[in-house]
């Protein structure tokens, strides 16, 4: 066990954890932020995606020790009022059904649009193909990413 400081959404959380514990479980069970989801545990579904120093990572496969003292953004840290372009687009296009995978989808889409504000279909495929949605909201995810890109230019 080790004492580890997590910088989650610009707030420090000091936790006692097995250094090998995946960041996912540290975020959910120890820091108590449950927006980040467990889906597969082997980086196949994308439900646990968070930003580590701005880069999307699968938190189920990142040991908590390697995320210590780094800037981590979870879905809760995107905005407090659903005001980011991606969240607004997700609402406009009515993407979620059950909603469980959507935290991960939104984190991936946000990272994509940050580095590529005008993604093509191929760019969207490349950035989003690691994310499973069992409800099958994929057509709306694609549409919402394009809508978000437009919303960003209107700012």
């Amino acid at each position: 066990m080790a004492s580890i400081t997590l910088k989650l959404n610009n707030k420090n959380y000091t936790i006692e954890a097995d250094p090998k514990m995946p960041l996912l479980w540290a975020i959910r069970d120890l820091a108590g932020l449950t927006g980040t989801k467990y889906g597969c545990g082997i980086a196949q579904c994308g439900a646990c995606t968070v930003h580590l120093e701005g880069v999307p990572v699968r938190s189920c496969s990142v040991p908590v020790s390697s995320a210590a003292n780094k800037n981590i953004t979870t879905i809760e840290g995107l905005s407090t009022d659903n005001s980011t372009a991606v969240q607004r687009a997700w609402i406009l296009e009515q993407v979620p059904q059950c909603g469980y995978c959507q935290s991960g989808q939104i984190m991936a889409a946000s990272a994509l649009l940050k580095r590529n504000p005008n993604p093509t279909d191929k760019d969207i495929d490349a950035a989003m193909q690691g994310h499973i949605c069992r409800c099958g909201t994929y057509p709306r995810i694609r549409k919402a990413i394009k809508t978000a890109a437009q919303l960003m230019t209107q700012k």
Binding site: M1, D18, M21, P22, W25, R28, D29, L30, G32, L33, T34, G35, T36, K37, Y38, G39, C40, G41, I42, Q44, C45, A47, T74, I75, E76, L78, S79, T80, N82, Q87, W90, I91, Q94, V95, P96, Q97, C98, G99, Y100, C101, Q102, S103, I106, I124, D125, M128, Q129, G130, H131, I132, C133, R134, C135, G136, T137, Y138, P139, R140, I141, R142
Partner: protein
């Protein structure tokens, strides 16, 4: 939360809903002495001792609270149920607060969210409930003003006097209105006047699903709650002989190791639970367990063995469940005939939220929280196992991260209750993805043998189907294995039964230890592949256009749907180098037609260019939710047709996670266009009926393009052309 366990009295409902002051509360009674369609004023019901199932309440601030009796697993009941009541109540949706009803079958009627039944099962009652409250509020306002009721109308949460424009907010009227008797008859709105129903209104649960605030079962926490994972027998019916937890107990955070059981269709299955102060520690402790299993009492089937048995069985004796005429002699005499065998795989539900449940067992009651499709079933199950009356067993619903039939099952809440009872602490049981994918129950694999004939004038002369597969209803101890409920014709259009002179459907159930369970659209999800592929084969045998061929057999409602399908797909102008396939199926009282367009890629693979769906679900609430459900159903069907299956080897499920059980990904999803038929037929299901026609429409399209029939699922689009 104790109030939820008792009769929902008016006071309790107010407390539960966070309402202020005196409220107008209306509901239905389920007591034997009262007509269950009678709408009761809660105040009156309370004084007459009538147990009420409260659905709606308006407080002195005008705040409206609705109790949603169905699970929200993505299908949109969280939106569509209030959208219906708000329409007749004349309030805006943002004035409405929605809470999930705790599980109690006696009060809410069946709460099992299955069979696509949320709307179709209750819409008339819900509309009348909203209308009754509205009429009571109008009557109250008219009395206060001393005017005729007919001179007043309700709009946007207020009653307005037409001539003077005087206005009362509902909140100003509820105290008086609560003293009235609900009207005996109310006039429902003409659909032409709908303001909310039939409108693509955004879902109320969307905002909380884009910022992490929606609480799913896995997100629910109680103070002092521990986390449990369970090592279950890797073969389906194994029993624990002994275990060694020496290494497990060395894992920091591990608190308890104990044997648990779970109820699988009335059969108790065994496992060993590891309980820790966080999920990861529990998982690590479980890895370190050494368990010896006794799995000698049942066969260890492989997929090959299961299908060999089913292929044999369709050649043997059948239990016949729907017949007309004599298919044997009609087939023997026919000149043009077709025979084909279709096979569909076992499938995992693989909800994105793995199974989980929180339980807190205390001296005087059991309370659970979880992603639950059938709260009333779970309540009954827990009551009977733990010998408690219903008021001592409280079942609370969270959001569900997918359900698809799996979360109507009672095993995982039972496990949570058992562990909490043993360790005397609140606990969350978490199934890992591997548990979720390998323990089952699964959609049963099926084999269909079809024989059919076409007559000289190109009609279906006979249609025979022999089915073998595991029957979901036959798993309970003592189940009757000799008769059927007829559900095995699900997916087949009712219209065919009226126009085909000779038909027969027979079943030879497979006996296997693999547990099986409903999977989105249930029997239709596999039946439709056989039935609609075979109709296409018969159409080809008759040298008829697949839609024209169907037209000859089907009545007006189907004709309108086919007209629409032809129109939106440009069916009659379809090009030469593309393949078009059609399938039309009926599932949970809705009819859905789908057309798939395919082409060959430069490197010889099959590409799905587009999918069109026409949904006829009769009376409906929210067109955007319907479209979303059909899109999702098509994606789920695409996965089961071309991507994934659960196979078995030596009695164990082989595919353990998404690396082996491949799901459709965003780049594989074709354009999907959904249309809805407008009519006043009875409301049909929405969440499932879009799934069954996709696969046969796809394989029929591939036949149209390549001349190859695909009769076994799943198949790879990359290897088909």
């Amino acid at each position: 939360m104790e109030t939820t366990s008792k009769n929902i009295s008016r006071r309790n409902f107010i407390k539960l809903s966070g309402l202020t002051g005196t409220a107008l509360t209306l509901g239905f009674s389920f007591s034997a002495s009262a007509n269950e369609l009678d709408i009761w004023n809660a105040a009156a019901a309370e004084s007459s001792g009538v147990e009420l199932n409260a659905w709606i309440s308006i407080d002195t601030n005008g705040k409206v609270t609705l109790l949603n009796h169905r699970s929200e697993m993505g299908q949109g009941s969280f939106q569509s149920v209030p959208q219906m009541i708000a329409e007749e109540l004349e309030v805006a949706l943002d004035q409405v607060n929605i809470i999930f009803a705790p599980g109690n079958g006696r009060k809410y009627g069946s709460q099992v969210t299955g069979g696509s039944s949320t709307i179709r099962g209750s819409y008339k009652k819900l509309l009348r409930l909203g209308a009754s409250a509205r009429e009571m509020l109008i009557e109250t306002a008219a009395k206060k003003w001393g005017v005729n009721k007919s001179d007043c109308y309700a709009e946007n949460g207020s009653v307005i006097h037409r001539a003077s424009g005087k206005k009362f907010h509902y909140g100003e009227l509820v105290t008086e209105a609560a003293k009235l008797e609900p009207p005996k008859d109310v006039v429902l709105k003409n659909p032409k006047d709908y303001k909310l129903i039939r409108k693509p209104l955004p879902r109320q649960d969307t905002p909380m699903k884009v910022n992490g605030k929606a609480v799913f079962g896995l997100d629910f926490k109680l103070p002092g709650m521990l986390y449990a994972v369970v090592e279950r027998s890797p073969r389906f019916q194994g029993k624990v002989i002994k275990w060694d937890d020496t290494e497990t107990k060395k894992v920091p955070g591990v608190k308890h190791v104990l044997k648990v059981t779970r109820d699988e269709f009335g059969n108790m299955r065994e496992g060993v639970a590891v309980v820790a102060d966080n999920t990861w520690a529990a998982m690590q402790g479980r890895k370190a367990l050494k368990i010896e299993w006794d799995d000698t009492a049942f066969p260890h089937h492989s997929t090959e063995e299961l299908y060999t048995k089913m292929r044999d069985q369709v050649k043997g004796e059948m239990i016949s469940f729907r017949t007309m005429g004599n298919t044997t002699s009609a087939f023997a005499k026919a000149e043009k005939k077709v025979e084909a065998t279709y096979e569909t795989p076992y499938e995992s539900h693989s909800c994105m939220e793995p199974l989980n449940c929180v339980a807190n067992v205390t001296d005087d009651k059991i309370e659970i929280w979880g992603p639950i499709q059938g709260p009333d079933w779970i309540q009954q199950n827990i009551c009977s196992h733990f010998k408690l009356p219903p008021e001592k067993v409280i079942v609370n619903m969270t959001f569900l991260g997918g359900g698809f039939g799996r979360k109507a099952f009672t095993d995982y809440p039972y496990e949570a209750v058992m562990i909490s009872k043993e360790i005397k602490a609140p606990v969350q049981v978490i199934w890992t993805r591997e548990d979720d994918m390998t323990i089952g129950p699964f959609r049963p694999g099926m084999v269909y043998q079809c024989k059919g004939a076409v007559t000289g004038n190109g009609r279906i002369g006979s249609f025979e189907t022999k089915i073998s597969g595991q029957n979901m209803d036959m798993q309970n101890p003592g189940a009757d294995k000799t008769s059927y409920n007829g559900s095995d014709t699900e997916g087949f259009l009712e219209g065919y039964f009226e126009s085909i002179p000779h038909y027969s459907f027979g079943d030879s159930p497979l006996d296997s230890p693999v547990p099986v369970m409903w999977w989105r659209s249930v029997y239709s999800s596999t039946n439709a592949f056989a039935f609609e592929s075979f109709i296409d084969e018969l159409a080809a045998q008759a040298s008829k256009d697949p839609i024209d061929f169907r037209r000859q057999h089907l009545g007006e409602r189907y004709q309108l749907l086919m007209n629409k399908l032809e129109q939106v797909t440009g069916w009659k102008e379809r090009g030469k180098n593309t393949g078009y396939g059609v399938a039309i199926t009926e599932c949970f009282s809705s009819i859905v037609g789908e057309v798939v367009k395919v082409s060959k890629t430069a490197d010889g693979k099959i590409k799905i260019d587009k999918v069109w769906a026409v949904m006829d679900c009769g009376w409906y609430v929210n067109p955007d939710i319907i479209k979303a459900q059909v899109e999702g159903s098509i994606v789920m069907a695409l996965g089961a047709a071309t991507k994934h299956e659960t196979t078995f080897k030596d009695g164990k499920a082989v595919e353990r996670n998404f690396d082996a059980y491949k799901m459709p990904r965003i780049q594989e999803i074709p354009e999907i266009e959904v249309h809805i038929m407008d009519n006043e037929e009875k409301a049909g299901g929405v969440g499932e009926p879009g799934l069954p026609p996709f696969t046969p429409a796809l394989t029929n399209a591939i036949f149209d393009l390549t001349g190859t029939r695909i009769r076994r699922l799943p198949f790879s689009l990359d290897k088909t052309a």
